[in-house]
């Protein structure tokens, strides 16, 4: 469905490339299947890698005998923990700034204690994939199975089985304290208290973890891998005991990230095997490995007690969140901090008490997943709000309107929302767009509607002192090159940078070429995570492009005998402002219709028509570039964008500023539920966000639609089912995600307040777009049936149980 753009006035007429629904420069390669992903590269002499994984979730590793595997013809190398120079390091964030605090153990290959089933035990490189597989079977591992602990609440108890080598399974705990909680509840006329549970879920990207690596002519280990973080080159180098500049990571187009490629996946294994054999090595996880052995979204148990006055004003919220981190720490402390800060949702509550804990168990480890700690509490606080509304006889919209935070209000953490907050508008818009309710077709069918709002941060936590760099240059013919170390995971990360450069330098989008994702050759831009790339690298690219533009205009001003402020840049021409016919009003330009999308197979050209009439007031871009070059005036720039920073928050009260800004949005869902079978059919989803400024509305709309479906899977069916650490849903036959036939009509609405901290006032939407879907679904089901489901996913079986039918 084509996105509606709510605030048409703010589609700024002065932008030429920004805000235009331009087909992405990388679109055709994907349509024709020509785009090369990590597993599409081969080199002569290449070996195939394979990982041996633990059969037990909790065990002591007694011995490993690799002799038979080594003897198998075609096996080139077998490696175990003893072959790894620095087998244990710490994960920080793998990025530009090493920050202390909660550092998680990163163990490359298991030794001592096995902490989850599927943990890597040994590596093999062989001439063929099937030989590598056979070699894995020939490695003899002796284990002493241990009892393990699989429930985070049990793992928190004193005397519980210890998952790792530390003294406690509790990784960390946070608090938020605001007001006086007892007093708050004393003022409440209604109090609802419930426990909510959300499952472990997988990213289920099309492309599993994959990569290929080789030694280049200078002895640099070069890894081309599907990653959201090329800056893991440092961590990989540390494992091998090499200088950081001896490892290079290249990220080609990534077939989906969703947080699953934020931690190291195949990179270290590849580097070890390449270093040992001197030959290129390729390694791609099977789907089973991807589901069993790589990081998941944390399951949470959440107890929420929420109180409101008669007229629907929230006065107190008490929340206790327990997250199951699985076998290793990875990003669990950070994910939990996000949940803690966002535990109250986009609401103003006088008295707040939040306690959160993340705990090790012998389950598959959990780490980043789209929303990073946002979706879990949103399910709880939005369900709570509807329960209160029901008791108070208020509509779901009304109770929310009485409690939304507005621009200038303070969150429970004391942080004042100084940027635009348009949550209320998004809520009104989604309900309006949902239209009149559908009519049930036959008696067992019930119709219900639900709404849920959320606030989700974009950009990394401020105490991480985040930075990004981008290089922009103009060539002699006026074409533009951007070099920026972003990883493009399918969201249009590269294409948006091209649009920004095109806008500032007055060239059509097709004149911009973008090089991305190479830790040796592109300026480091940080991770494609935390919904930060448009914000961070967009700003860096904007900054660099502006420097180049300023130089150009300076030169052009000399040529045209005017001052730079009088000049504008468009369609490869620099001209004195208000001089071109179209801008004089002779040919009124409509930003939508004067763009001509002439498509060729590879590139799509946006041509804006213009007429110039006065040659001494207009000069061609190419001529200015040449004049600059002749004088040695630089037409390139590397800019660094530094995010605003703050020091760590006060961990005793949770008071402080953690994020630069938030994205606010609401989703509404209409469902039909068959009361006899429990089957839910989603009739429609409407999703509205204040996106600040849509750089490319097509990409933004893609994120909103995709986010809604991602969230719908969480709400309806996704579930990594584990029993005593064993994954019972290790393939896509058991781990269900919505198919095309399950996808409802998704209508997207974008508000463009211009109030974000990204380039042109943009906000981030990659992660926020998936957060409120599951609670909106839960609220719709509850509206249809009059009973609530407190545990995701909402399956037909749970519905029938809630209805008392089974």
């Amino acid at each position: 469905m084509i996105a509606k753009r709510a605030d048409t006035e703010s589609v700024k007429a002065e932008y030429r490339v920004i805000g235009k629904p331009l087909p992405r420069h990388d679109a055709w390669g994907k349509v024709y299947g020509e785009t090369k992903y990590s597993n599409d590269y081969k080199l002569p002499n290449m070996l195939y890698g394979k990982v041996l994984r633990s059969r037990y979730a909790a065990a002591r590793l007694l011995s490993i005998d690799t002799r038979d595997a080594e003897k198998l013809p075609g096996v080139v190398s077998v490696m175990t923990a003893k072959d790894v120079q620095n087998n244990e390091t710490v994960t920080r964030f793998g990025q530009t700034h090493a920050v202390g605090g909660f550092e998680g153990l990163y163990r490359v290959l298991a030794d001592k204690k096995i902490r989850f089933k599927g943990e890597a035990v040994a590596l093999v490189a062989a001439e063929r994939r099937d030989i590598a597989e056979k070699a894995i079977d020939l490695i003899k591992v002796e284990y002493e199975p241990l009892e393990g602990v699989f429930d985070p609440v049990a793992a928190m108890q004193p005397g519980a089985y210890q998952v790792g080598e530390d003294k406690s399974n509790v990784i960390c705990s946070y608090k938020v304290r605001k007001g006086n909680i007892e007093e708050g509840f004393a003022h409440a006329d209604v109090i609802v208290e419930n426990t909510y549970r959300v499952p472990m879920v997988d990213h289920a990207y099309l492309e599993p973890e994959s990569g290929m690596a080789w030694l280049d002519d200078d002895g640099v280990i070069t890894i081309r891998a599907a990653t959201q973080v090329i800056e893991h080159f440092r961590g990989v180098a540390d494992v091998l005991g090499l200088p950081h500049n001896k490892v290079r990571v290249i990220a080609p187009m990534v077939g989906g990230g969703f947080g699953g490629k934020e931690d190291i996946t195949v990179e270290t294994y590849l580097a070890l095997l390449v270093w040992k054999t001197g030959r290129p090595v390729s390694l791609t996880y099977t789907r089973e490995e991807s589901i069993i052995a790589h990081g998941k979204r944390h399951p949470y148990i959440m107890r929420y007690k929420t109180g409101a006055t008669k007229d629907g004003k929230l006065v107190a919220m008490e929340a206790e969140l327990i997250s199951d981190a699985g076998g290793y720490v990875y990003l669990s402390p950070w994910v939990l901090l996000y949940s803690t800060v966002q535990a109250t949702g986009p609401y103003d509550i006088a008295h707040v008490r939040v306690d959160t804990h993340t705990v090790l168990t012998n389950n598959t480890f959990c780490s980043a997943n789209r929303g990073f700690g946002g979706p879990q509490p949103c399910f709880a606080y939005e369900s709570q709000l509807d329960e209160l509304a029901k008791q108070l006889n208020l509509s779901p919209l009304e109770i929310r309107k009485r409690n939304y935070l507005h621009t200038g209000d303070a969150m429970a953490t004391g942080r004042v929302l100084e940027h635009r907050v348009e949550t209320e508008q998004t809520a009104e818009k989604v309900l309006e767009a949902l239209g009149p309710p559908s009519k049930p077709k036959s008696p067992p069918e019930k119709i219900g509607r639900g709404v849920a709002s959320s606030m989700t941060s974009y950009g990394r936590m401020m105490f991480l002192h985040d930075t990004s760099r981008s290089f922009v240059s103009l060539d002699l013919d006026g074409s533009v090159t951007v070099r920026c170390g972003v990883q493009d995971i399918g969201g249009g990360q590269a294409s948006s940078l091209a649009q920004i450069a095109a806008e500032i330098l007055g060239v059509p989008l097709s004149d911009v070429n973008v090089y991305i994702g190479d830790s040796a050759l592109t300026p480091l831009a940080g991770t494609t995570t935390a919904t930060r790339q448009l914000y961070m690298s967009g700003n860096a690219t904007l900054k660099a492009a502006r420097v180049v533009r300023d130089n150009l205009l300076k030169k052009a001003a000399e040529i045209l005998n005017t001052s730079p402020e009088n000049l504008d840049l468009k369609d490869r021409e620099i001209f004195i402002q208000n001089h071109r016919k179209d801008t004089l009003g002779l040919k009124k330009t409509d930003p939508e219709c004067n763009v001509n999308y002439g498509g060729t197979r590879k590139a799509v050209v946006a041509v804006e028509t213009c007429v110039d009439d006065d040659s001494d007031r207009v000069v061609a871009l190419e001529d200015v570039v040449k004049a600059c070059a002749a004088e040695g005036m630089p037409l390139f720039n590397v800019a660094q964008f530094n995010a605003p920073t703050r020091e760590l928050i006060d961990f005793k009260t949770g008071q402080g500023k953690v994020f630069a800004d938030f994205t606010f949005g609401t989703q509404a869902i209409e469902v039909s539920v068959d009361e006899e079978t429990g089957k839910v059919t989603v009739l429609k989803i409407v999703s509205c966000y204040d996106v600040g400024q849509a750089i490319n509305p097509l990409s933004a709309e893609g994120q909103l639609e995709g986010g809604a479906l991602y969230g719908l899977g969480y709400g309806m069916m996704e579930n990594v089912i584990m029993e005593k650490g064993i994954t019972l849903s290790p393939t896509l036959a058991e781990y269900l995600i919505p198919t095309a036939v399950d996808a409802p009509d998704v209508e997207t609405i974008m508000i463009e307040s211009g109030g974000g901290v990204g380039p042109f006032g943009a906000k981030g939407i990659g992660e926020p777009s998936c957060v409120p879907t599951a609670p909106a679904l839960a609220n719709a089901v509850s509206d249809a049936l009059g009973v609530r489901i407190y545990e995701l996913p909402i399956t037909p079986e749970k519905i029938l149980k809630a209805l008392g039918k089974i």
């Binding site: 099937d130 079978t677 089957k679 069916m717 036959a733 037909p796 029938l800």
Partner: protein
Amino acid sequence: MDNTEYLRPSNLKELGQIMAGHKNRATVIAGGTNLIPQMRNGGKSPELIVDIGDIQDFSFIMEDDGFISIGAATTIAEIASSDIVSTFSPILASSARELGNPLIRNRATIGGNLANASPCADTALPLLALDAVIRILSPGDKTRNVVLNNFFHGYRFTDLGKGEIITRIIFPKPDDETTGSQIKIGLRNAAAISVASIAVMLTMEGKICRKARIAAGSVAPIPMRVSRVEQLLENQEISATLLEQCKAIMKKEISPISDIRGSAEYRSYVTAVILERNIQRALS
């Protein structure tokens, strides 16, 4: 897998010879949508694979005076889009349309679906309700027929002996008084293994049910006919009370298990619900 031999006969005669000559080690492959995953996960490691994909006489949908015949290697996609199947056995057509996804339907065959004998085999239920018969080619060029209801012996265990292959599936054309309905419950709208599934064929004489065929899937070790429910319906006027009795008996006759797709109680409950719905639909 690398020690597996592979043969691809081009006609029935060659196939018969291969199967007779290697009856102890030959495994038939049709679409491979069950066999290949089973080989990949180590569940099966056949010595000799005999591919029936080139045998032309194996893939057809035919109608004659009284019967519909479907070649064993006919794909599920062909069945789903066949006019003959839609006209004479809409419940088979609709269950074929609900099997797997388009990629699977283009490869999967009806013979493979039955020979694999999963309790969730989607085409087994309409075929049981349609009184289908399976024609089997045995070593020595012998042919025998087995009523489908006698074909499934136990969990993934069928009447097929060594070296035997299914050649076709035959069922009588239902008369004008006979109608059917089929419902599959899965955990999503496509590409879902059934959690419970029922196919029903009813022959009515006015308000009286003269003949009933009820087949249930995913609720027992095999796709099964539920004869006690059939008996309850036959020669009776179908009333609300009778339907309640049918539902109660149905729950007793099936023996669902609890697994990751659903608990036994859930399966049992929805089976009763879709039984009633199917009967009402067949009658309307």
